[in-house]
């Protein structure tokens, strides 16, 4: 008996494709859906690891003195917190979501290079182990901050060849290789494997966003690689590229570093913009406002992101003309970003809202992002930045983006596509509890960082003057709340995956190719490839998205 979906908005509980056996998730599978979930789960594990480091940091900072852990331990904590959160949580989880969703959204059976895909994923736990292993190195893990600025990163007090900084550089290098592999794969897939009828301007915005982000990876990462290689040579071979006492230039490292690491933040946020663009139409039952402009704005952001990096170096010793130039370019990038924000607001306005967990997280993420955008403009203004650079004001700003927008955006995506990925419905009550705890916790944790920075508390400090105690206590309490907030989420994800209610093909009555097949989709996604005949987000109209919806479901298969 074949499983044929008759009506794409039907709530008939279709016989879902047989869910994957758990063993597949520990194997070298080349199925993009398995790899996607592998990325997401591995990343979430490291999210918790990075979170524990954050708990130590906030535990230390709840009192002015450095009395919880030794200063070297604290410095290792903030270094690894940043490193883990970026390279082992944020980049992999976004890769996971892209991996899972892009082929389905463009109507492809898999990525362009499935084996390369698997290799790229398996490098993640490997360099994760390398980084965690640095705890056992002589001198402990890197304590130079996630920027690894020389000369501090070259000091190597233990004198050992294989030291924490060396392992850190190795891990980051492997991360770069993995990311480039992923970027080549995704860009090739999107450019070459869209289903018939899906022109660029019929692609879902998430696909536009992911493509833009991966283009940044391709052209930014190599600059970081170059800088990291030179730093490694300085550290291990005694070259003098960045060592000022040997005639080197430490500021040049900062240029190499930030030439990638600034665009990297757009790698982190663009997929979230994509997620917002996917979710708001579904939960407001309205088309995305200004689709074409939103799509193009992602590319504009890619272009502009390449010419703003010096705003991280306004106090480094850059000349005045350079500061002004990059101030202008940095402020300019607010325009395509603002366009997106207004588009989302216009999408939501006048719609028929449903406040599911996914929608709540998306809304919360949007609000926190707008706040972060405003503090971002403040940071772009050089005179203000001179005051708040390297203070907690910056830490507050980027945590509003990274936690407020990115983490909450990821949660939104996970709730939204959980039924599709697992074939189960999650528990809505736990989801809402998760949202409340997260939203309150995040604001309690990161808002106080702004007054702290304005008052002059530097970042990366294990101890501080007593006048900063008040806001630090609030921030630490917020952090502990955030730690607790992960519990209902973990409970929900695990419990629902095991015994949640079976999910139909399209529980949200959303418009998108991924919703036309079973939950979870069959191994090869489609029996025949979909033929796209409509633009995305056709809410309010009854035009079918594809011309052959009935033929997409794979005939009953046997694993």
């Amino acid at each position: 008996m074949t499983n044929v979906l008759v009506d794409e908005t039907s709530n008939n509980l279709n016989q879902p494709g047989e869910p994957e056996s758990w063993r597949r998730f520990f194997s070298f599978s080349t199925d993009h859906k398995v790899i996607g979930i592998q990325y997401i789960v591995t990343a979430f594990f490291f999210f918790l690891v990075g979170g524990i480091f954050a708990m130590v940091i906030r535990g230390e900072l709840i009192t002015p003195e450095a009395d919880l852990v030794d200063r070297t331990v604290y410095n290792a904590m903030f270094t690894l917190h940043g490193t883990v959160m970026l390279f082992l949580w944020t980049f992999p989880v976004l890769s996971g979501l892209a991996n899972y969703l892009v082929p389905l959204m463009i109507g492809a059976r898999d990525m362009a290079f499935p084996r390369l895909n698997a290799v790229a994923f398996w490098m993640v736990p490997i360099f994760g182990v390398v980084l965690m292993g640095s705890f056992l190195a002589p001198g402990g893990p890197s304590q130079a901050g996630w920027w690894a600025y020389p000369p501090v990163s070259l000091q190597n007090p233990s004198g050992a060849l294989i030291n924490g900084q060396f392992l850190w550089l190795l891990a980051v290098a492997l991360s770069g290789v993995s990311s480039i592999m992923g970027a080549v794969n995704i860009v090739t897939t999107i450019v070459r494997m869209r289903a018939p009828g899906m022109t660029f301007f019929k692609m879902p915005i998430f696909v536009w966003a992911v493509m833009s982000a991966q283009i940044i990876q391709l052209f930014g990462l190599p600059a970081l690689t170059a800088g990291a290689v030179m730093l490694l040579f300085d550290l291990s071979l005694g070259t003098s590229f960045f060592d000022p006492l040997k005639g080197g230039d430490p500021i040049l490292f900062q240029h190499f570093f930030w030439f990638y690491s600034h665009p990297a933040v757009y790698v982190i946020i663009l997929p979230i913009f994509g997620i917002f663009s996917e979710l708001f139409p579904v939960y407001a039952r309205k088309p995305l406002f200004g689709y074409k402009v939103v799509a193009i704005s992602s590319l504009i952001i890619v272009g502009l992101s390449a010419v703003v990096w010096v705003h991280h170096m306004f106090a480094s010793g850059t000349p005045g003309w350079m500061r002004m130039l990059f101030m202008f370019s940095t402020m300019l990038i607010a325009v395509p970003t603002g366009i997106k924000v207004f588009a989302w607001v216009a999408t939501i306005w006048g719609g028929k809202l449903r406040l599911t967990s996914a929608m709540l997280f998306a809304l919360g993420g949007l609000i926190m992002f707008v706040f972060a955008g405003i503090t971002g403009i403040m940071l772009a203004a050089v005179p203000v930045d001179i005051h708040v650079n390297n203070t907690y004001f910056v830490v507050g700003h980027f945590h509003y983006v990274i936690y407020g927008a990115t983490v909450m955006g990821v949660y939104a995506a996970l709730y939204h596509w959980f039924p599709k990925m697992t074939g189960r419905m999650y528990n809505e009550g736990l989801g809402k509890l998760h949202f409340v705890l997260t939203f309150i916790g995040a604001n309690l944790n990161f808002f106080p960082m702004h007054p702290l920075g304005l008052e002059g508390m530097p970042r990366r400090v294990a101890s501080y003057d007593p006048e900063f105690a008040f806001w630090n206590v609030i921030a630490s309490l917020g952090a502990f709340l955030l730690g607790i907030s992960t519990l209902p989420f973990i409970l929900n994800m695990v419990g629902s995956w095991i015994q949640g209610e079976k999910a139909p093909n399209n529980p949200w009555r959303a418009i998108g190719i991924e919703w036309l097949v079973s939950s979870p989709p069959s191994h090869e996604n489609f029996e025949v490839l979909p033929v796209v005949v409509a633009s995305p987000y056709g809410y309010g109209k009854s035009d079918p998205l594809v011309s052959n919806a009935d033929d997409l479901e794979v005939a009953h298969e046997h694993h």
Binding site: P157, G290, Y291, G351
Partner: protein, 306 residues
Amino acid sequence: MKIRTVLILAAVATALAAISFWVGQSAYGWMPPQASAESILVDRLFSFLVTVGTFIFLGVFVTLAYAVLFQQAGRYDSSDGPHIEGNVTLEIVWTAIPLALVLWIAVYSFQIYDQMSILGPMEHVHMGMATAEAAPVVQGSADSDADVPIEVLARQWTWEFRYPGQNVSSTELHLPSNQRATLLLKSEDVIHGFFIPAFRIKQDVIPNEEITFEFTPIREGKYRLRDSQYSGTYFAAMQADVVVESSDAYREWLTSAAKKPPVVAYNEAFEDYRQISEKGGSAGWVTVPPAEPPLVNYSGSPLTRE
């Protein structure tokens, strides 16, 4: 648009503008005291940004809040919302206005930066192009040695200040009020950050370079200098006090300090490290040992908060 809608929008916008202006004014209170001429300029710019930012944030927030509260789907309503794909006029407006706003902010920021002129010429490589050379703010300079820069030496993890004209060294920075301060920043090991929040000034101190740095303190009092560029194990402890005093008090301090025999300065990092070493090692990993505290005429004391 209906006249009623226009009036409601105008009313909401006016209310938001008033709130934004109020928040912008209170932003002055979020900053440390205005102890330098630069701080007045910076705070003005910051207040402006807070006003504009608040307005935008509240605009978005209020719109979304309204939608969330009053535009939820009916419980059993499974129909879609209106099929609105876009509105060209609106899109042009909300591209043009932010663009204009951003340009306004950029130009205003440039003007403030220009007026601040805290930076002297720098040695840093910039491919042969001219730096933005700042013209120092002209004011009546009382001290004859005002043109000899005060040397600021940064090392892991102590600040040392030398007054070459008077042969005075100190771990507490003294400056005369209402006079242009000219400093020469040097680091002996890693990059440090010279940051005095009350003055709103910051400059990274780069080893192998001598960076001229200028600003004008205007308010007597004691302020904090903190290392702002992460510099290793005892980075957080690398702080010093800054005393701004009248011209007379300043000269008095210089003369009396010059007469004092040099003492080993108190240094928190060195003390901590020494105590830990005596106890047989830390609970952490091996660290770069702190540099020997400097021999200075005048040592800032450990607990200096008044």
